[in-house]
Symmetry: C2
């Protein structure tokens, strides 16, 4: 039985912004053109709302963004992409945050006509996580907070930034669904805990509300692999520490899938010709595209994720989960090695009325990454069911 | 049902030694004194056999030792320790090979009065794996085969060296039990397949007869973590690449135990005060004691372990398992992340009459390392049962 509990938020908006009065907010296309200037509090993105249901990439100006830690990101940016059209009463919004290291363009598999995230029906916002290289990150923040000096960012900071985009950027006050995989699931759960009256439904999959100690150890391992490369230079490299990133990727490979996945050589489904080809062509390729400091910044965010630290929850995870009022569908990958079904089941049991489903798959954590058709259909069907309820 | 099969060995002894005729073999105490000189084929260790049941460390001279690969280790040495006394008819010998990175002194937990490996009853030989720093290894082999030039060694090579020690060193022709954990289990299974008429019983635990692809990926990860350290210098370091070894250890930490072990903070049982204390005090400590090239040499042995390559088995794992005639007790750790109970159960099902038991434990692979009393008792009782049968 879920515990009944409430977390009393420290402020109504759930944000942690200490915006300078009158500071300007801008809504800028990623190509650099300014689509609509504005000031704090004014809905900005009416163009998107009224426009055709074609995807649009954007960069939302967060201005002076004070993080939970007290550090400040100045001229902070939140990148995003939208699919579909916001309807007249602004009731069809879905928020779908990015997972670790991904860009918004990497996770579009559940978006499309006839799918759960159908742009013909919904206005889908895919906000990029801080640190992912598109939103404010070590790699794109100007000195003095660039590179190794980029401040630590939490999942709560990410949700605060996204809340700003959703409410002030798009004027949306109610979200039909927040959905996400992996670190996207972390953000999804944080949305529901920070804004219980704003989020109608959540579908976190393959992610936990609090990073478990074993998961933390896995991340310690990949961090150690990367930072052992002398070329990393404590983050002050001029050239990517590619050997370290490759080692990071090679360690990640063992965790990202499952023992039977490798035994069954399922990677052949993805077009890889051998185990070594998969380690290089999939894993090394995946992370060589990224900046080392960005990888480490998001890793810090992951390691420190804890829904229990939501303001008003007094550090209590179960209380934070109990404060969620969204209708919840929680999924876990049967063979996930770091977001285990046991851990996710435990957390779901503390969300009132939550449905818990296991994705029966040997694809480990990658069961939620849209790579295996059976798993993707299972997730899509489940989310469709949630949206219809 | 196990398949019935036989592997026809290429030679009777199962050895791959091409000893020069008349080459001298010596039985040397590790302190450097020569306990008994001898020549090939003569039983050497009669002093041990007739002596008191006190432990004795030794260094057996393998002479010119030709490996399966065709490479040759000259003046090769096999280190070992014995416990107890060989009885008059030489029927009470137990062979207990070392696992990855361990020395014979690291795995004495199952040896003692009243335990399964009771020195009052049995003559227990603990041979050190080639590459472990006591037997011939990158760190102690003179040029030109030193360090990065140390040749690749297989599990079959290890068993061939141990066979020489047992038969020529001690004049033993029948072994009551071969028992081992992890890579010790690999050697145990190889003993039974290479010498089906010599081994009465086997008790491999937490190890497989063939390294699985996922296990190989885990090892790729720790290897990448170590070798990313520029101080490794492709194996030609003058000083240990300690950052690389620490990274190696930190990656290993996630694999060596289980998700619930970390959640339950079971490391406190071992006297560690925090997760970080455990990562440094247990894992980094464990591997910082070792030489980097030695770690990589044994890793190669592990990655390439395949009982199916036993001569006469035609690469067929199931056939090799089916050729085992020893009475077999096979154990697996319930939460072992790389030698999974599923993989071990599968292999055990191909050994005629094998008993398969799961060690119910959250200690993952370490369930077999004598650290948790309940697990150790389970293993000890199981081996006692096997010895009594």
């Amino acid at each position: 039985m879920p515990k009944t509990s409430t977390c009393t938020a420290l402020d109504e908006s759930g944000e942690n912004l200490a915006a300078a009065p009158g500071s300007r907010r801008q809504f800028i296309r990623l190509d650099g053109t300014l689509s609509q200037p504005g000031v704090v509090g004014a809905p900005l993105a009416t163009a998107n709302a009224a426009g055709p249901s074609t995807p649009g990439e954007g960069l939302f100006d967060l201005g002076t963004f004070v993080l939970r830690s007290g550090a400040t990101l100045r001229e902070a940016k939140l990148a995003f992409k939208t699919h579909g059209r916001l309807n007249a009463d602004k009731s069809n919004a879905i928020v779908y945050p990015t997972p670790y290291s991904a860009h918004h363009s990497d996770i579009e598999w559940p978006i499309g006509a006839g799918k759960a995230l159908d742009p013909e029906k919904y206005f889908i916002i895919v906000p990029d996580m801080l640190g992912n290289g598109l939103s404010s990150s070590p790699s794109n923040t100007p000195p003095p907070y660039d590179r190794a000096r980029f401040p630590n960012v939490t999942i709560q900071d990410n949700v605060a930034a996204q809340h700003r985009l959703v409410t002030q950027g798009f004027g949306i006050s109610r979200i039909a669904l927040v959905v996400g995989w992996s670190m996207g699931a972390q953000q999804t759960l944080q949305w529901a805990a920070s804004h219980p009256d704003m989020v109608a439904r959540i579908a976190p999959f393959c992610g936990t509300a609090r990073t478990t100690p074993h998961n933390l150890v896995f991340l310690e391992g990949i961090k150690a692999a990367l930072t052992t490369d002398a070329a990393w230079m404590d983050g002050w490299y001029e050239k990517q520490p590619s050997r370290g990133i490759r080692a990071f990727a090679r360690v990640y490979a063992g965790w990202g899938l499952s023992q039977p996945f490798y035994k069954q050589e399922q990677y052949r489904q993805l077009g890889f010709s051998s185990l070594e080809d998969f380690l290089i062509g999939f894993w090394e390729h995946r992370f060589l595209r990224r900046d080392a400091n960005n990888l480490l910044a998001m890793l810090w965010t992951w390691q420190h994720n804890d829904l229990g630290t939501t303001p008003g929850c007094d550090g209590n995870l179960e209380q934070a989960l109990g404060s969620i009022r969204a209708k919840a569908l929680v999924m876990a990958g049967e063979t996930d090695l770091y977001f285990t079904p046991q851990d996710i089941d435990y957390e779901a049991s503390h969300i009132a009325g939550a449905t818990f489903r296991v994705i029966s798959s040997v694809w480990g954590h990658q069961a939620g990454n849209g790579l295996n058709a059976v798993d993707s259909t299972f997730i899509d069907d489940s989310v469709k069911g949630l949206l219809a309820s």
